[in-house]
Amino acid sequence: MKKRLIQQVTNSIFEVMETMFFLTVEEQQKSDPPLQAQPVSEEIKACSIKFSGSFSGTIFLEIPMELLKTMTENFMGQDLSPLSEEYMEGTLKEALNMIAGNTLTQIDKTSYMGLGIPDITTITSPEDVDETAIFNTENGTITAHIKLNEPEQ
């Protein structure tokens, strides 16, 4: 399930980023050479959303501020400088909401999977989650994680 879920998150990121944010994204393959470290000064915004249904867990999304600014302007269709943090966080939450909704609908088209409200969080380490996917864009790197809850006994 973990592999299937992260694959569907990947597909949804492609669709949502291209359709709503006009961004071309490319998944980083494990065989790719490691990216140069992000500048230390680069601020990254993180967001998470919980889901529940036949299985439950959390999807995380992390996006550098510079890329988030581009996404927000593309989303709104105009230059919004100076861009408020509220707008950028709203864009991040909406992006994750659409990615999660799209993912869960594709995973199970018939039964209902409940989605929580997206929350701004801190960056999550790949060691603390089940699967991670990384995507390159011209303006920065997008990171997505999934973590499934243990089934209740």
Binding site: M20, M76, G77, Q78, A100, L115
Partner: protein
């Protein structure tokens, strides 16, 4: 005729995108009211004439489905058409929206054409064509 449209969504950027989409769909002359959740929307309905409500489902305090249920219990609000715009895509959920009284459903991501088609179906053709893109917005997804 200009319409009065109430947009209910907890996302500030999404409310902006919806307004732009309505303008791109030919409803540039409409007046827009905004609410962040179902509870706030119900309060706005009490003090304003609204022709149509466009609502998200997944919101804090009161979600879109609970808001529709409350509207249907109210004599003055029960006939106002409500369109649900959301990422929720399961057939079970769509059936529930319609069963509870939603007039239509649009799944994100959406296009102006989808919005226009549904609004014409519910409100009739807009006469605001001359006001399209008065803000100079480029918006064509």
């Amino acid at each position: 005729m200009s319409f009065s449209i109430l947009i209910v969504d907890d996302s500030l950027p999404m409310r902006g995108v919806l307004k732009k989409t309505f303008r791109a769909a030919g409803y540039g002359g409409a007046s827009f009211l905004e609410a962040e959740d179902g509870q706030q929307a119900l309060e706005m309905l009490k003090g304003n004439w609204i022709d149509i409500v466009i609502t998200d489902f997944n919101m804090p305090i009161m979600n879109g489905l609970e808001m529709i249920q409350k509207m249907k219990e109210h004599d003055l609000f029960k006939n106002i058409p409500v369109v649900v715009v959301t990422t929720e895509g399961s057939q079970e959920k769509i059936d529930e929206f319609i069963e509870q009284g939603a007039s239509g459903y649009i799944k994100k991501p959406f296009t102006p054409e989808q919005i226009k088609e549904l609004l014409i179906q519910l409100l009739g053709e807009s006469t605001d064509e001359e006001e399209i893109d008065t803000a100079g917005d480029q918006f064509d997804f």
